[in-house]
Symmetry: C2
Subunit: 204 residues, 2 copies
């Protein structure tokens, strides 16, 4: 399997997911700074123009990180990162969406509205008028997640899941673009982040 | 199983999903206009304060429509609305996310930024500064989906999936809040929408 990858938190999430499972993927680097993902060759693979994209041995392609991670989980169930029971999978998907809505969506939109505006303004619709509000929302989402995490080891309790990987990759991204974690206010997440950062997969 | 439901496209999606499968759910109506979902009783069920929420016979709860639909698909696989093969499921999840990103996210944020502002301003962060841009993005997302649909029967080709149900529920919602489909520009979606609207499940 071939992973069309690039800089950015979404491709990193899939690489980290694969690393946790010991899956070897052939990596094809896509130059998103240069706009390679918005040109005809790449758009034929993924009409959304986003990375990552997984190309199967059959030539079929899957884009969108959630779909790719679910696919990899079905093909390589061990170690589980979504779950081994229907209830575990439901709880993982619920938390994955909560992390997405509370943090990933406003953080990404806040970045594109400000620091990332020059890069993205001709690619996707950006909201510079709401840049500060979007970043505030992402920060509030982190505080809410901090309360939800409490003293648990992982977002879903004692199980490492794709929800942890998603939040980790976006926290690391946020730290690079002026939306770092407020460790003083979010002590639970700071502890969790340190533990996540010590995993071998974090090198992905 | 008990579904905490309300007005709005997300609870409707789960009701429509259940109707397509012939699943009977006990419906508990939540008064979201009156803010029942932001009070302690409901927040104990779902700390995100969103509807719908599925309560299992064991008392465990699942929120977030994607997680609820995936759960119902696993428990009641027929007729499939996500897929019967790993590749079908991957393609459905990919398109579900594309519909979410291209239409659902900007349409919802556009609504909360304008027509829905008074209702939402003290509940979630809204972006009135970007209202027009958010609505434009949702309209552009619909045009993009129209091209992708082409002459296909459903979003994933000849299979009805949860991606169709998601888009249908949000198109109907959009039509009620000033973000209706431009049928002249989006003829493929207009045809698809008429066919979806004639399904018995559309009465959900």
């Amino acid at each position: 399997m071939k992973l069309y990858s690039s800089i950015g938190p979404n491709p990193r999430l899939v690489r980290m997911f694969a690393a946790e499972k010991g899956i070897q993927l052939e990596i094809v680097d896509v130059d998103i700074i240069g706009g390679e993902n918005r040109q005809a060759g790449f758009l034929a693979l993924n009409p959304s123009g986003t990375t990552p994209v997984l190309e199967l041995g059959t030539g079929q392609v899957i884009s969108e990180t959630t779909a790719i991670c679910e696919y990899l989980e079905e093909i390589f169930p061990c170690p589980p990162l979504i779950g081994t029971t229907v209830l575990q999978r439901a709880q993982t998907r619920m938390w994955l969406r909560r992390v997405d809505q509370a943090v990933v969506q406003p953080m990404t939109a806040g970045f594109r509205a400000a620091e990332g505006f020059e890069l993205f303004k001709n690619r996707v619709r950006c909201y510079p008028q709401a840049a500060d509000q979007l970043k505030l929302a992402a920060g509030e989402g982190l505080c809410w997640l901090d309360e939800q995490l409490g003293t648990q080891t992982f977002i879903c309790g004692e199980r490492l899941t794709v929800a942890d990987l998603l939040l980790f990759c976006f926290l690391e991204f946020g730290a690079q673009v002026g939306q770092g974690l407020n460790s003083g206010r979010c002590g639970n997440l700071a502890r969790w982040h340190a533990a996540m950062g010590s995993r071998v997969s974090a090198l992905s």
